[in-house]
Symmetry: D2
């Protein structure tokens, strides 16, 4: 079930503490320039390093195993693998018996009848997002002029979030945040009515990113309090440009020629150093838990590039679908 896309197909594999993680990208047209260096800028953006991010450092060296020849895509599936080098499984054995609140541990154990790889979240780990970033790099090459940007709107409810972050670090606590994303130079008419509306495709992908609990396009939740006469975006000319952009560049599920804008809300990471209570899976008794692993204080710090990447993948898929209609 682990794939997305009708044409530009992204499939990820791997576990946090397995041998490797990676991605297979199908449907990439032939002739796209591509080499391992092309991935480094985006991969670096996903890496920890700044204050508030995990101390597990993986070099994240992409190994292109297929689909590229003479530094160009061949048209066959592109497999990119990242070896897991920094594996410390010992930390995680306790979660087998003491499921971490807010993590997949408990539900995954039930779903997979105890056979899932529980070390570091296994296949549910944020580590898997490295494959999403790699897919995004390829997508962006196909998107050419279509540009995708993000910014952090707030962390811990605060726009000036540096103090909040320091406070959370010193308390052994974590914080949520909001990321805003812009897609510029989008041609008119991407997206399909109903099931493949742009909102459907982007939200599907953005909710694939661990920690995301909300998404809104254009004015989003604010628009629920507006009148039609306030909300409607008036056309300025036949290029499709509108006076306002309350709809976030999407009408009827289709791109309308204006900037696509959306915001994603990320909950605070559930792995906190601070002591919390859970239930022992064996004894059924309440127990104290302090998660000592190497974790992010706020997912928003590293999630920007991941949101950009999955957005690129989704928009790329819709763009390739439009070629079928004879559109560029």
């Amino acid at each position: 079930m682990n794939s997305f896309g009708r044409i530009f197909k992204v499939e990820i594999f791997g576990e946090s503490h397995g041998e490797s993680v990676g991605v297979i990208v199908g449907g990439c047209p032939p002739g796209i320039e591509l080499c391992e260096d092309d991935f480094m800028t985006d991969l670096t953006k996903r890496q920890p390093g700044q204050k508030g991010t995990t101390k597990r450092i993986e070099k994240d060296i992409p190994h292109i195993k297929s689909g590229v020849f003479n530094m160009r895509s061949t048209g066959s599936p592109i497999m990119i693998e990242f070896y897991n080098e920094n594996r410390e499984s010992g930390d995680y054995e306790q979660f087998k018996t003491k499921p971490r609140p807010g993590q997949a541990d408990f539900a995954a154990d039930k779903k997979f009848k105890g056979f899932n790889d529980y070390r570091g979240g296994g296949h549910f780990s944020g580590r898997l997002t490295v494959g999403l970033v790699a897919a995004g790099v390829i997508a962006k090459k196909i998107l050419k002029d279509i540009e995708i940007k993000t910014r952090i709107l707030e962390i811990g409810g605060s726009q000036n979030y540096q103090d909040k972050l320091n406070e959370a670090i010193s308390e052994g606590d974590t914080l949520g945040g909001i990321i805003e994303c812009f897609v510029c130079n989008v041609p008119i008419g991407l997206g399909e009515p109903f099931f493949d509306s742009i909102e459907s495709v982007i939200s599907h992908l953005v909710f694939s990113i661990p920690s995301v609990k909300g998404i809104e396009f254009g004015k989003g939740f604010e628009s629920a309090g507006m009148k039609g006469s306030e909300y409607n975006d008036t056309l300025l000319d036949l290029s499709g440009r509108t006076k306002t952009n309350n709809c976030g560049g999407i009408t009827g599920g289709l791109s309308n020629g204006n900037q696509i804008i959306f915001r994603a809300a990320l909950r605070p990471p559930s792995s906190i150093l601070k002591s919390q209570m859970t239930i022992n899976a064996v004894t059924g008794k309440e127990e104290e838990l302090s998660v000592k692993g190497r974790h992010d204080v706020c997912a928003a710090l590293r999630a920007r590039i991941i949101i950009e990447s999955v957005t690129a993948a989704g928009i790329c898929d819709l763009l390739l679908i439009n070629r079928i209609y004879g559109l560029k």
Copy 2:
């Protein structure tokens, strides 16, 4: 492109002012009791009638054309058709030259190179949601004890929205609203890691509904301002029940045994009687437009059952997928 679901597949067809609209549901197991009467309760909920809803009344009689024999599903595709009886195409001819702000008219014309059926929004029309409701009825039969409920949280920014509605009606204006949805008695372990997380599947479907511009699960956007120690839901016992339900019943993309909770934000309908400006698609000049059609003042009034229906379809698909793993 117009289908959704891996196993329980929903595909809708039709245009607002074409001969009929409908749905094909694939993947329904054999032996489910089903007759045309079963659809009436939900279809009635979608119908206009109360103050603030459109005056276009369609009887919405479901015609089961296939997949049902002796009042039970046979295991083959179920096609349900609704004839369009109340078609008044005259109203819509003007939108060919004067695209309505906030509607798909302009973008659809570009995407489909002018060949789309523009009458009443054509295939983009809310009329198509009648098929979604029919699919939901079938899904709910498969879901058995899993119950899906909704309520209107607010309209026009107000919880006591009756005055707001009256005001908008008298002004020839429209209003947005927020709907909250609950899914009860969900077994643990529905959903797949990453691309088929419950949030991904439900948001994909809910954003298929015209007017939806935002969705949040559990505490959603509020969680972005919380600390991990506040947000984490503590396990109460090994049934999976938690003290709080900030995550809205979903951890790691999987159902965790608690109620699934989400809220959808609907923008105000763009068809307003009140005069607004647009650009003439032929002359390129600014022109006044007053949409005199029969339209809803607030989509939230009729969208509750549609949100319930697509949620049922999505949860049903994930439930059937779990059977593959040998789960009930």
Copy 3:
């Protein structure tokens, strides 16, 4: 499960003695000229009438219910419905207890736990192929210059099959046959390596047609007895033309610029007037059975257009996929 195609998607619905049968075609580009008359030539080819074909006559009037506006495709799903007018269910009640040898009756009853519509084969009926023919008509409009032709190679093992047919009719027996299909003017490079080879796509579709039990491309089974030096098709020039066409126009799963050629073997229809033995599903005892329904003496007589139609659908899908690569 009942759909085929990545882009040009064909989904059929209905039962032999239900209200209607039909097809939904997705992925048809907008602007294709299409009206109900366009279907009549091919539908007539599928109709009985000549000696050796069933006496159940259905008018086969296509009702285009969606996806066409002003006599052109709109880009949204095209639903075409055929009402079942000539239903005589009485004939079939006996097969509930006496499964017909060679028919799906027995296996379908087990698969669908007795809930399948057993009247006239239900969803397994050859009646469903009317939807395949309709899909083929649309596909051929997209294929433009690509031409698909068939001929009957033999019936009952004989090239001059008229006597064989008369003999079978007088004996209350049935006959198998072989149909050969040619696809002309195919551009080079249709098909995908491995899973979507042209052979894979065409065979998948051709085996969807009831009665087909074998398929071979180019020299097919004869090639198994050949040497490479005999079999290899030598290039004549850079247009791709080859001296011989032993591979049937397909190398490495891709079209190579020569005519695509394949042959399909159809077993004799299993419904014979002649007395045969079966097992009573209730008593488990051996019983005599004479199938008195209105049946074809040889499926090959009416299957030519069905083979052409599904071939058109498959080639059309591969053609649209190639547009993604930037090919025409």
Copy 4:
């Protein structure tokens, strides 16, 4: 496009002379015992070694990179990689200008606009079938009692083929062959009406194997010359067993409880040492070509296990689909 299966999904990647080839298998239920040793028996069957097979020896060591933990499947995608160790690209540079008759070289160059990896057939190479064998091993573990066997019926038109093989080797020529496959202990009711008939699914997969040009089920092409009264398989009892098995265990596209039987025809390999003519892709002039690479004399010698493997994958997919219907 390079995947197959609705539930049990097989996706292959890699090129003949790239870094590695491999497979991702999705939809494998959790808890299946699996380790690298499990693959060796089948991989060895695919390896060259006996007379008439290529001298390119790859060790074919499977590296399970994901989806397996504590020697059991976890329920997440299983990625298995095979490093290419024995790469000699030099041999293949000539085929860039001199396309080999009968190979994908010429058509692939056109399809992928010259960007395909042409070394050793690239992604079209038989080397990729190692991933199919790996997928088959996993499928067979899920199939449990369902057993799949093959035998070589003939090579070069001869049942006693040893002399034919020796002759072809000494002449620098190649030979075609026919393989017969049996699937035993198949439960009744696998397969879906029309598009996912067992014949459709198996033929789709078998034609994915390079060199296959024909397939027939049960009596296949012979049945085209039979009468219904000869062909019909009479039920012996309510277990579904029939007196004859002319339909090869499949009625109406569904398994009927008898052995599934089919035969696949393989054309002779096109890479022959013997001199043949081709067209120079640059000059357009006729030129002599002798393919000196390390090639098989007859594909049938190594293809048996590949046919068994893809058959296992297809049957496994249909078996898992049946679980949705509540069948075992």
